[in-house]
């Protein structure tokens, strides 16, 4: 099985703070990995490193054999990695349709993107994506009119249109109630598992982790605290992960 990621002794610091320290791990294609850790443990930074949005200070991340330090945002990277965050990811002033079609921007030239803002060219793929997330009746609404849960489903539809090899999700359901959270996680699961896409997600919920993921990585103060199959994850491990240090 091909490797999606090989992370080799990666460290990252910003303004003198060591945020990620000596992290090494690899992720196989098609794996579904949950990353757990307290706030400030470095989950977001690790995910942004994996998404090649920031580059490691030391060490190396190889994404399908390419060093992420050589990858800049653009068409190529967008075919490898799709990103979904907790919120604030979409453009509130645009219609639902245009937000979804933005998943195509890596493939489109300037004129085509302009035309798509003004007309409804190539809408099939967007329509199908909105059907999959159950929002086809909201296509032409302004995004700001949708609820938080609906907006997150629009973000998933954009990922469906973008169709990357792997998806990086940074607490994608943290601001949703348990039912909506389960819905959005199911959608992410459904768009990745049958096609053997890789899913790496930071989470806070034990239930969602055990339900949707097969491997779990615990992050504590920028270091990998544990890396194991989800079946082996005990409440004890979690307690240790979230506990406050005596020397803090």
């Amino acid at each position: 099985m091909t490797l999606a990621y090989r992370v080799n002794d990666v460290s990252f610091e910003a303004e003198g703070n060591k945020i990620i320290q000596h992290v090494s791990l690899s992720v196989k294609t098609g794996e579904r990995v949950a990353i757990l850790g307290a706030s400030g443990a470095g989950k977001t930074t690790l995910l942004r490193l994996l998404a090649a949005q920031i580059k490691p200070n030391t060490g190396e991340i190889s994404l399908y054999g390419e060093n992420t330090s050589d990858l800049d945002s653009g068409e190529k990277l967008s075919r490898y990695v799709g990103v979904i965050n907790q919120q604030y990811d979409l453009i509130q002033e645009l219609s639902v349709r245009n937000n979804v079609m933005a998943g195509n921007l890596g493939r489109w030239g300037m004129w085509r993107s302009m035309l798509s803002l003004l007309s409804t060219i190539d809408s099939d793929i967007g329509t199908r994506a909105l059907e999959r997330v159950g929002l086809s009746d909201k296509t032409h609404q302004r995004l700001s009119r949708l609820s938080g849960g609906e907006q997150q489903r629009v973000a998933v539809a954009r990922l469906i249109v973008q169709d990357p090899l792997l998806i990086i999700a940074d607490e994608p359901v943290a601001s949703l109630d348990p039912t909506r959270a389960f819905e959005v996680m199911s959608l992410l699961h459904n768009i990745t598992s049958p096609t053997d896409k890789t899913l790496i997600s930071a989470l806070h919920s034990y239930d969602l982790t055990t339900h949707f993921f097969e491997r779990v990585i615990g992050l504590r103060r920028g270091e990998v605290s544990f890396d194991m199959p989800v079946k082996e994850l005990s409440k004890d491990d979690l307690e240790k992960l979230y506990s406050v240090d005596q020397d803090d």
């Binding site: 653009g74 967008s78 509130q92 645009l94 998943g103 921007l105 300037m110 302009m114 973008q162």
Partner: protein, 259 residues
């Protein structure tokens, strides 16, 4: 003594004010004896505006001229300002060097252009074109395009970063990020400021008439010279009506866009 930047500015302003009080020639600030009867005349004109049919036609024609000047000028200014604001915002360039160069150069140019008031532009352009309509339109459009471009470029820069980052992760180029992110996020502010500037432009167009271009200001000047204050007030009413209408139109458009 440690003085913060803000209090330093306050001290400089206060000193300048006190100095100006001292320097000013207060003997000249006393109203002329004829000034009081002048106020009397103006007030009488206010109470007896000249709504005769002949003069209303003159006023409507003058208002129409001012509208055409102001509208053509703001339209031309917008056509120039919007692309300029893209360049001045530096968001089109990927390399940091190109970005800094375009921001610095274009913004310096914009500062240069808008530091010259439209009346001075009118004088300069009159040398080229004479006191023709094109002088009036360009005299307004040139400084206004610089003001609009500067403010629009600030709008385009001051947008939240997270949605833009998400667009880039979908593979968007800088131009696409502008189209799908920055512009949609700020176009309401641009519209709002554009309308405010349209108001200013109409006011300026009226004043431009004082240097010989037709319009409300020109008619005010003519009526003033003849001391027909009843006519002056009618013209001022037209000007107020014009500005209020633009304000109303702008708010209506903003409301319809908000829904």
């Amino acid at each position: 003594m440690v003085v913060s930047g803000r209090s330093r500015v306050a001290i400089i302003l206060a000193t300048a004010f006190l100095a100006s009080v001292y320097i000013a020639d207060w003997n000249r600030a006393i109203p002329r004896s004829s000034g009081f009867s002048g106020i009397n005349e103006i007030l009488r004109g206010f109470l007896q505006p000249d709504f005769s049919q002949d003069f209303l036609i003159v006023a409507i024609k003058a208002t129409w001229t001012t509208i055409t000047f102001g509208t053509s000028a703001i339209f031309l200014a917008l056509v120039i300002a919007i692309p300029l604001s893209f360049v001045a915002s530096g968001t089109l360039f990927r390399s940091a060097v190109a970005r800094m160069a375009s921001i610095t150069l274009v913004r310096f140019l914009l500062a240069l252009i808008r530091s010259i008031h439209e009346l001075i532009w009118a004088w300069l352009l009159a040398v080229l074109f004479g006191f023709s309509p094109i002088t009036g339109v360009l005299a307004l459009a040139i400084p206004y395009s610089a003001i609009l471009a500067r403010v629009f470029s600030d709008f385009l820069n001051d947008v939240p970063n997270a949605p833009l980052r998400a667009l880039r992760s979908s593979g968007a180029s800088n131009v696409q990020t502008l189209l799908y992110g920055r512009i949609p996020m700020v176009y309401k502010d641009m519209l709002s400021y554009g309308f405010y500037r349209f108001e200013c432009c109409l006011r300026s167009a009226a004043v431009l008439s004082f240097i010989g271009l037709q319009g409300i200001g020109y008619q005010i000047e003519v009526s003033m010279q003849d001391l027909y204050f009843g006519q002056v007030w009618v013209l001022i009413y037209f000007l107020i009506f014009l500005i209020v209408s633009v304000d109303w139109w702008g708010s209506k458009l903003r409301r319809s866009l908000a829904n």
